[in-house]
């Protein structure tokens, strides 16, 4: 039982990170009908921006973990928001009318650029970097289950962030504009909505979520490396598709489902745990064959 609790906790942490990344994919698809394939590397950029802020502040003699944590998170959010907006403004919007494949290719290349820039310009960037533990490391041992405060805090923050995003989209004027653009760009424009601004803001929001996923990853594993966004991006994308691309709830469900599949793959299957990704992605393929529009399909609910 305690063991089950531990697995559930591990899975929930993974699921939260995947969900945060997946929500970004889904937001971008919602407003522009495109896949932003550099999104995973934006996650890494966020984590490394946070790391830079940490290094700068500790060099200035700041010691308080609370201040540092705030600075790390803000730096990560700011950096990814800028990257996200730049990608939208100079890569995605100019070729909006071109075939989807072009956007896919351009953002894929952009991801490589971001990734390699981290590797080349971050000091000793090829190596895994140590991410500071800024949250309390204590916890309770309940049998085989070790409940840590930092995990609880991270999960709660993740949930709050997703809830806030949900409220932003359903309850505010900005959210209304985003939903209007997602529904029908032309009509939204004629209603006087500043299309470009809405797109840029959406990219900023999605990228900030990615920043939090990056910082969460760093705080959880205490280690980040330049290629961390690669698999995270693929999994986040798979989760978004699995849930139903363009649907916020779908992305969350997809993220947690994928984490559950990985955990089951590592724990319950008789063969070596090295096959857990094979298992998880295999199940995704099967699910996609059964429900091509995702678990919560577009037809069932409105986009974004």
């Amino acid at each position: 039982m305690a063991l089950l609790g531990q697995y559930a906790m591990n899975g929930a942490m993974l699921g939260m990170m995947y969900a945060l990344v997946a929500v970004g994919f889904t937001l971008f698809f919602g407003v522009l009908d495109i896949i932003q394939f550099s999104h995973g590397d934006v996650v890494a950029a966020g984590a490394f921006a946070g790391l830079l802020a940490y290094a700068a502040l500790t060099a200035l003699g700041v010691q308080a973990p609370g201040v540092l944590l705030l600075a790390v998170t803000l730096a990560a959010a700011l950096a990814t928001a800028i990257v996200g907006v730049l990608v939208a403004r100079f890569l995605v919007l100019p070729i909006k009318g071109a075939p989807q494949l072009n956007v896919l290719l351009v953002t894929l290349m952009m991801g490589t650029v971001v990734r390699e820039c981290i590797r080349l310009f971050f000091p000793n960037g090829s190596q895994p970097q140590r991410f500071p533990a800024l949250l309390p490391s204590s916890g309770w041992n309940i049998g085989a289950f070790y409940l840590r405060f930092d995990n609880v805090i991270l999960l709660a923050c993740g949930a709050l962030l997703i809830a806030a995003t949900h409220l932003l989209i359903t309850r505010t004027r900005l959210g209304l504009a985003i939903r209007a653009v997602a529904q029908d760009e032309e009509t939204a424009r004629t209603m006087g909505i500043d299309f470009k601004r809405v797109v840029l803001v959406t990219f900023a929001i999605g990228s900030v979520l990615a920043a939090f996923a990056g910082v969460m990853d760093g705080l959880y594993y205490n280690e980040v490396f330049f290629g961390m966004g690669l698999l995270l991006g693929v999994i986040g994308f798979a989760a978004a598709i699995l849930g139903g691309l363009g649907n916020l709830y779908g992305a969350i469900v997809g993220g947690f489902l994928f984490a559950a599949l990985q955990t089951v793959g590592a724990v319950a299957l008789p063969f070596a745990s090295a096959y857990k990704d094979v298992f998880a992605f295999g199940v995704v393929i099967v699910l996609m064959a059964i429900r091509p529009t995702g678990l919560i399909g577009e037809r069932a609910s409105e986009r974004v």
């Binding site: 531990q6 591990n10 190596q127 895994p128 140590r130 594993y221 490396f225 698999l231 745990s273 090295a274």
Partner: protein, 381 residues
């Protein structure tokens, strides 16, 4: 006409006086997660070349061609092909990563390029084939795991869980450690294969925690070793961490900080400062002002480069003759900075020196010199 002849003769005699330049290759991981070791190896091989070029008695002047195998088999084969197909390169000091060396030996063989492996520990690299081109100055993982298993058994560890990566390298470690540890009377609590770029190990570690082992053996390289050790701490799995030569480098400690303390690892060869000529090596190394330290395998890369250049001095810059010069008949009890070198029929050095290491205060310390050995500190139980 006559003047032209005289000029020509003058030119020829000048060329005879200047030393002929001979090119040798260095292949290792210069980028990616294992680049610290690779750069240390490159600097060490470079040092050997520089010292030889400064030696007036040397017949040839040497040039080191540095190639990056990225610790990836495909890149390794590309680099092996590059070195092999370039006829001006007469030999190589090659490979730290076992999977890469394993993939590249066929290429060395096909091109007839004499290669001396300076760091990879998988036994199959020298023993699977009968390639006359392939040699190795360092020991294999068989020796290292034998020492490791005996050490663990002697220190009262009876029940050990294993995590290894599923490359040939990790599988080899798994196989030999299991073999020697069960022979020594130990029990393997559980055996987990993981991919070499996996990020999350909480599921495996939770399972291991439930198995209640008294130590965790890790067969793999630094990047995932760091992750596993960090996540053990996160899950409150505080058993002894027992590693292999794959984690003996400064990056392992740098990435982990204080939780690296007490980690064990075993490696072929002895640390440079403990070697007969190690002090000279370090002194010369520091004089050159390299940006990176020689790391654990630097002395092997240096020894391999010296061995290769010695063979070239005797045989001339001809690949086939160099291979002949590196045969067991010629390489017997050769003194090197990494200890004596004696090649067997497979080009494998048969004089294994295994050093035990433990992390103490942010440094890899030889077990015998550590406070853990003297009883002042205790390993996790």
């Amino acid at each position: 006409m006559r003047h032209a002849f005289i000029a020509l003769f003058a030119l020829m005699s000048l060329a005879a006086n200047a030393k002929e330049t001979v090119r040798i290759a260095f292949i290792g991981p210069l980028t990616g997660g294992n680049s610290a070791i690779g750069l240390g190896g490159r600097n060490s091989a470079d040092l050997a070349v520089r010292l030889r070029n400064a030696d007036a008695k040397a017949k040839y002047s040497y040039e080191l061609v540095v190639l990056d195998d990225e610790c990836k088999p495909d890149a390794g084969v590309q680099m092996a092909t590059k070195a092999g197909s370039d006829r001006t390169i007469v030999g190589g000091v090659t490979n730290y990563c076992s999977v890469v060396a394993m993939a590249a030996v066929d290429t060395y063989h096909r091109f007839g390029l004499p290669a001396i492996v300076w760091g990879a520990v998988l036994p199959d690299i020298t023993y699977k084939n009968d390639f006359k081109e392939v040699h190795r100055v360092n020991g294999t993982m068989i020796n290292q795991n034998e020492t490791n298993a005996k050490f663990m058994a002697e220190h009262g560890y009876r029940n050990v869980a294993i995590i290894h990566d599923t490359t040939d390298y990790g599988k080899g470690h798994d196989k030999y450690f299991t073999q020697f540890f069960t022979q020594a009377g130990g029990k393997i609590a559980g055996d987990f294969g993981v991919t070499a770029d996996q990020q999350d190990f909480t599921a495996e570690l939770t399972q291991i925690k439930a198995l209640r082992p008294d130590a965790l053996y890790f067969g793999g390289l630094t990047p995932i070793g760091v992750r596993i050790r960090a996540q053990m701490d996160k899950l409150g799995l505080n058993v002894q961490f027992d590693g292999t030569s794959g984690i003996v480098n400064d990056d392992f400690i740098k990435a982990l900080g204080p939780i690296a303390e007490g980690a064990l690892a075993f490696r072929e060869g002895a640390p440079a400062e403990k070697l007969a000529h190690g002090k000279d090596f370090l002194e010369q190394y520091n004089k050159q002002g390299y940006a990176q330290p020689p790391e654990a395998y630097g002395p092997f890369a240096y020894a391999a480069a010296v061995l290769l250049m010695d063979a070239i001095e005797k045989a001339g810059p001809d690949r086939r003759k160099i291979i002949e010069q590196l045969s067991p008949a010629h390489v017997k009890d050769v003194d090197s900075i990494a200890g004596k070198i004696t090649f067997d029929d497979h080009g494998q050095n048969t004089v294994p020196v295994i050093t035990k290491y433990v992390v103490q205060d942010g440094k890899w310390v030889m077990w015998e010199d550590s406070e853990y050995s003297s009883g002042k500190r205790k390993l996790a139980k």
